[in-house]
Symmetry: C2
Subunit: 341 residues, 2 copies
């Protein structure tokens, strides 16, 4: 059976489309009361991630309720360090916390690169349930964190404004850093392949902390490993979203991927000129536009679409939708895209 | 009496210099044990800001201890909202907090644009004491926050990863936003003029939250007011540091200022090509380099100096020095600059 709506796959492949496809990063989550109801019945965020039929349910909610052109599997980028042996907790209103962090070669050596299929079986099970329940209505997106971003959490142990502990590790221990990044990369490639085997139709790599490195260091410790992943994933279209890494856009032209995510600080015309339709661009409305009134949301969405007009484009925000956004405003964004053509 | 070391002023004015001058943002502060000793004897950060002879003492410490080519008056960008009637607290390990924030036109109307000389007399007194005690050894830098950054705190009420409350105010209430930004701009111009009258030799505008706006919105709500300030301050050299605003560098060519601050994500060669020695560039070593060993600090500092070689340049980090940096590492950075010529 073929997908009923494959707009996003055609857009990613640079094929002809009737209208611009649209989805939102973090569309499955706190913005929806239906999500919060399920989430509140559980012990925490991780129970939801690790319970396949519930993860599948919240994955599908935005397709049913918001009318997006793709689902993205409900999960967390930090399942990879956990599968490698570094447990984490998700602390309410604070974010992730790793009781143990990576400090030495011994710590790196003790990380596990095997049994990923077993350790993360709940993700692959959630993907299978979701694919079944979606009944080919829209594609399902899989994802993973980029190695540098995963590395940053494994060293820092938690979120940070500066990630100075993780960054200083690059300056103090560049060889160990490459060793750890290599290990993360191997797991990430296998993880994405297993997601594809379980049924996802497209994958996205999130490099959430790309923008805190200098151009030279992001090239050496970030982009290098994103390249390796892209070269190994050819089965489905691949999107790379390196938030804040405006300085790396030029080098991203050479990535073996279909789509480049743009955050809202990136100038659309410059990106269009740079990529010259060799890649699809995804984004990039400022998430804060959705705090405006309906007229403003429609106006700003149409302006963005006009800026991308005639070029390969998947509509999205320039970052994950903020959790306190009114779902009606999200619908307005989606409808503004859908009604534009 | 003339300044014994006026390197930074000559560099800002594009005049001939024997070697590149160097100072650090946040050089007066927690990195120095001598600072912490004074700070710990007081009730809090604000008592230090508001006690002129102590503010002067910590301002001069980095000149004596680290050997920088300029002092920067120890103060806080948030003294301006406070002088306008919006009190704030500095909460240990958390940052600034405003019990009342701006939500309406009535709130804006109630802000005060007069008596700045009286309200902020402690700053001008600290400047006079510092100038006297410096005995013309090095120039003294004054500063203020850029209107958008001050606005962000006045609306948000505290630090934030996204400043979504402040940003959404721009989208929801653009006219009120301009009204408030205009008021902040008037106070900021007067504040800088009063600092100059009290004796500072150079002023810097910090737009710490420039990088979270879209290019369009930063142009309309940020850069517009920086322009107004630059056009009114002609008595001493002026530096503009818009952190993260890579997208605005092109338009900053037209600013009526001497120096542009670069953060560490900005490519030096691109900036050199863009400004073509029409302005002095300041920066831009990644503050995390100072967590490396002495060899690395020297190597990275020399690399940076080589990248700027032959162009108008003031050496600095690309952001304020991080509070847990070893002062010996800071000295290594400074000495690496001084010994380069």
């Amino acid at each position: 059976m073929n997908l009923k709506n494959d707009l996003i796959l055609r857009a990613a492949n640079g094929k002809k489309i009737e209208r611009t496809p649209v989805w939102l990063m973090r569309q499955a989550g706190r913005i929806l009361p239906e999500y919060r109801k399920i989430r509140n019945s559980l012990s925490g965020f991780k129970e939801l991630v690790e319970t396949p039929h519930l993860a599948a349910e919240v994955t599908i909610q935005p397709v049913d309720i918001l009318g997006v052109d793709a689902a993205i599997i409900f999960s967390d980028i930090l399942v990879i360090p956990e599968a490698m042996g570094l447990q984490y907790e998700m602390i309410e209103k604070k974010g992730p916390y790793f009781p143990k962090t990576i400090e030495s070669q011994a710590n790196i050596d003790s990380l596990n690169n095997s049994d990923l299929e077993d350790h993360l079986s709940y993700v692959f099970e959630a993907i299978k349930i979701t694919k079944n329940e979606l009944s080919q209505r829209v594609p399902l997106i899989g994802f993973a964190g980029a190695p540098w971003t995963i590395f940053a959490y494994m060293i820092e142990g938690q979120g940070s404004k500066t990630f100075s502990k993780a960054k200083s590790f690059l300056y103090r221990e560049p060889e160990l850093a490459h060793m750890l990044l290599e290990k993360i990369t191997i797991s990430t490639i296998e993880y994405l392949k297993l997601q594809i085997k379980a049924g996802v139709d497209l994958v996205q790599i999130f490099d959430s902390w790309a923008g805190i490195l200098s151009p030279e260091y992001y090239n050496e410790f970030g982009m290098k490993y994103v390249h390796k992943i892209c070269d190994k994933i050819n089965q489905v279209p691949l999107t790379v979203f390196s938030k804040g890494a405006f300085f790396a856009l030029q080098s991203m032209k050479n990535l073996n991927c279909n789509t480049i995510g743009l955050d809202w600080t990136m100038d659309i015309n410059q990106a269009i000129n740079l990529f010259d339709n060799t890649k699809t661009l995804q984004g990039n409305l400022d998430p804060c536009v959705l705090y405006g009134d309906f007229n403003l949301i429609e106006k700003k969405t149409k302006e963005m679409l006009n800026n991308f007009a005639g070029n390969r484009h998947i509509a999205n925000l320039g970052h994950g939708v903020y959790p306190d956004t009114n779902p009606e405003k999200v619908k307005c964004f989606i409808e503004s895209v859908k009604s534009n053509n």
